[in-house]
Each structure stands twice: as C-alpha cells, then as structure tokens.
Symmetry: C2
C-alpha cells in the first residue's frame, strides 16, 4: 500500500490550509489549464481517483455529471468530503489505488489530480482505468512534473545573473524521492515523461493532449512572487482517450 501521508496529522494539518483545500478548484493554480482538457460533463459517469475533500466530484455534479464515484485512501479526506455534500449522485469509497477494482466499461471519465506520483508503479492502475472506461472515454490527470520530482535534493538556486533556476539531476533514475513538503519524509516516486506517456500508450490509451503547468503571465501579473513558477514546469497534465472502437485498426 502506498504511504498514507494524508492521514498523518502533521501533513493533514498543512494540506488542509493550502489554497486548493480551502477554495477548491479555483484555488488550484493549474485548474485553468486542466479544465479545458475535460469533456463536457453532462450525463457522464465519473470516477475521481484520489478525490481528497471532494471538490472535483461536487464541481462535476454542478456541470451535469450523472454520477461521481470519489475514491481516496485517506479516511480523514473522505470524512470531510462526505460532510461537505448531501448529493445522492456522489459516492465516496475508501480505496487503495495500488489494488483498485473497478467495473468494466463503467465510466465515461476518470480523473485524478496530483495523486499518481504517490504510486511506485502506474501500470496496474492504468490497466484498471482503461478497462473501466467505455470506448471513447477519457482519463484526464495531473501529476507532479518529472522536472520537479527528478532532483535528489529539490530546491531553487540562482544562475550567474541572479535569475532563479531549478537544478535537475537523477532524471533517468526513476524511483523513490523523499521530500519535506508540508511534513518531513513524504515519499513520492519520480518517473520520466516518457514512462508516463508510454505506459498510457502500452495500455491502449491514445494521447489526446499534454500540458505543462507553470504560472501563466496573468497569474504572475496578479502575484509577482509567482514569477519563478515560469522557470520550470510544475505539473504535467494529460488527457488520454480509450479508442472509440474496439476493433484494432492495426
């Protein structure tokens, strides 16, 4: 089972105070880039892998989703998510994404925000998600960008002219990275961009769009202290699609 960092009191306390935890999707800086990757939600059966406080399930329902299944490993997260809605169209369930079982062709959209970097291997989950999607269904997700996760010691430096720079090393050596984000000893897994995309392709997904989030010029204008968040990509966003027909054109 992946490290259940969200149920550690120090981490949970810190996470609960993030803008994305308090304000929801509009408090997530990458949401303006992620939202256009999503299909029209009306009538869709949606699963949210790592739903946290349930901001996405609730938003999906306001957009007309037929139903949303929110999955999370953290009882703390699920308890708060359940307390924030009375919508019978939303179901929350505890699940370990490393041993996930989903009904075959039961969903039109799978969504996952900033969760996959906690998994040592994304292959089994992608296989499960692919089987759980109808033909033409989509998997839209964000993950910490490999440029962010690669360094053995993460941190900003400055170049010869005093400009912020993000030193990378260890890029080709995939595996565990331990960082002190919100709490000491948070375990994440570094994977290359190639591994993320090829694992999708090998599991019969078609890559529909790839985005790399860093602060937009508008965000920097509103918050000048975010300027360095354009120096390197922070999150990798992907829209992948199950082929529309099961007949293999090869």
């Amino acid at each position: 089972m992946a490290q259940n960092i969200y149920d550690r009191p120090d981490f949970f306390a810190g996470y609960s105070q993030l803008e994305r935890s308090v304000a929801g999707l509009s408090g997530a800086a990458e949401w303006p880039l992620l939202r256009p990757l999503l299909p029209a939600m009306a009538g869709l059966r949606v699963v949210d892998l790592g739903c946290g406080f349930g901001w996405f399930p609730r938003w999906a329902r306001t957009q007309g989703a037929a139903s949303v299944l929110g999955l999370d490993l953290s009882e703390n997260m699920l308890a708060r998510a359940r307390a924030m809605t009375t919508d019978a169209g939303i179901t929350y369930r505890r699940a370990d994404l490393e041993q996930l079982d989903l009904p075959e062709a039961g969903f039109d959209l799978a969504y996952s925000a900033l969760v996959l970097h906690y998994l040592p291997d994304i292959g089994p989950l992608l296989r499960t998600v692919r089987r759980a999607l109808v033909p033409g269904g989509r998997f839209v997700f964000s993950v910490e960008h490999p440029v962010l996760t690669a360094p053995v010691r993460q941190g900003w430096t400055t170049d010869a002219e005093g400009r912020h720079a993000w030193p990378i090393n260890g890029y080709l050596d995939e595996g565990v990275r331990t960082t002190d984000w919100l709490a000491p000893g948070v375990v994440k897994y570094h994977r290359t961009v190639a591994t993320v995309l090829n694992t999708l392709i090998q599991n019969d997904f078609v890559i529909a769009a790839v985005e790399e989030y860093g602060a937009t010029l508008e965000q920097v204008a509103a918050r000048p202290e975010w300027a360095r968040e354009r120096e390197r990509p922070l999150f990798l966003l992907v829209s992948a699609q199950a082929p529309r027909s099961d007949t293999n054109p090869a």
Copy 2:
C-alpha cells in the same frame, strides 16, 4: 530561412569531427534508443529531413528501403553525402524545411535527427510531413530535449553534495536560444515537450512512443565520464503515426 549554421566554416569544421560525423549512426549515442522506434525498413519509401552526411539514407538502404530522399539546407553536407554513395536508390536535394514541399502520400517513413530545434515553428513542417505520409506511415525524429534547450545560460553546476546538476530556467518561455556549441552564436529554438507533442496531435498524428535519451548504464560503464549524461535528458525521441484509415473515428 533558418540559420544555415552548417555552412559556416567554424561550425562545419567542428561538426565534421564529432563521433556521429565520423562513425555515423553507431557513433550517435542515442541511436540504440532511436533505432527500435523505426519500422522494418524493407520496401519503404523514406524521406530524411536534414540528412547531413547521409548516414541514415545509406543505412536505410542496407536495411532494404526502396528509396531514400535526403534533404538538407547545407550544400557542404550534401556535397559530402553525394560523394559517399553511388546508390541510385538515394537522392539528395537541397531544401529549406521551413518552406518544404513534398508529394502527397509519397512516403512510408519520414525521419529527422536533431534538426527540428533549428526551426522557429514546427507546425508548417509537421503539416507537410503528415500529408506526405501514406495512412499508417510514421514520422520518427529526435530533437534536443526541452530540458536542455530551456536555460537562458546553459551549463552544468553541482548540488550541495557535489553531484552534477543542470539548472533550468525559462522553460515556459519558448523561442530563440543562442548557444556557443561548436561555434559562437548558434541559434536554436526552445519549445516545451507539450508543444512538440500537441503540434503533432493537432496535425493528425498519433503518438506511438516517446523516449528521453540520456546515457545508458552500459554507456556509462564503457565511458565513466558520461555519468552526468544520466542526470538530465539530452534528446527527446518521438515516433508518431499517421492514422491507418482516413475515416475519422470521431
């Protein structure tokens, strides 16, 4: 027209001495990762965009390619390529990839090695290449990795423990980068991974595989001084495919 750096005597002299110029494909460190992206060559009509000294066209013919059209902007490169073969199945032609014209559905495979980063915009070329491919045809290419091209000032540094690191900045600001590789004032263009992949997708290519070349463990064992070439990706390699049928499944 793109900067014709290969016809500048200082650059050409330096380039001519690179291992990849002297030994050909086997002297290109990324070839072991690029070759598996190529289809079986027997009977294929091939175009090489930026063929240089013609190492790839000659190799393609040894593998049974029906014909190879080698294109390059540099008269120096083409002259040497022509001098190195008498094979009537290979044609060399001077061409500016920014204003390329190719026969529609005239090729089974388009190939391009470390050339696209000289173009300010890859959209028009990808459109041309897509139209030049038969259904199911492939475009296999390498390009300097965006992690390599991003920094305003490229260069290695060391982290707090003395380990090599490659500081990145400017990643989200695409455009001109001037470096002093082989000669001063070499103009290349930085693009994000997302832009490379999305421009392919928007031009009706299907992403078949993505690789990120850095030194392999075997290469480091043979040449310990290459160890730092695993710290960050050096080249981005892509295999993209024209859909097999012109009927749009959407």
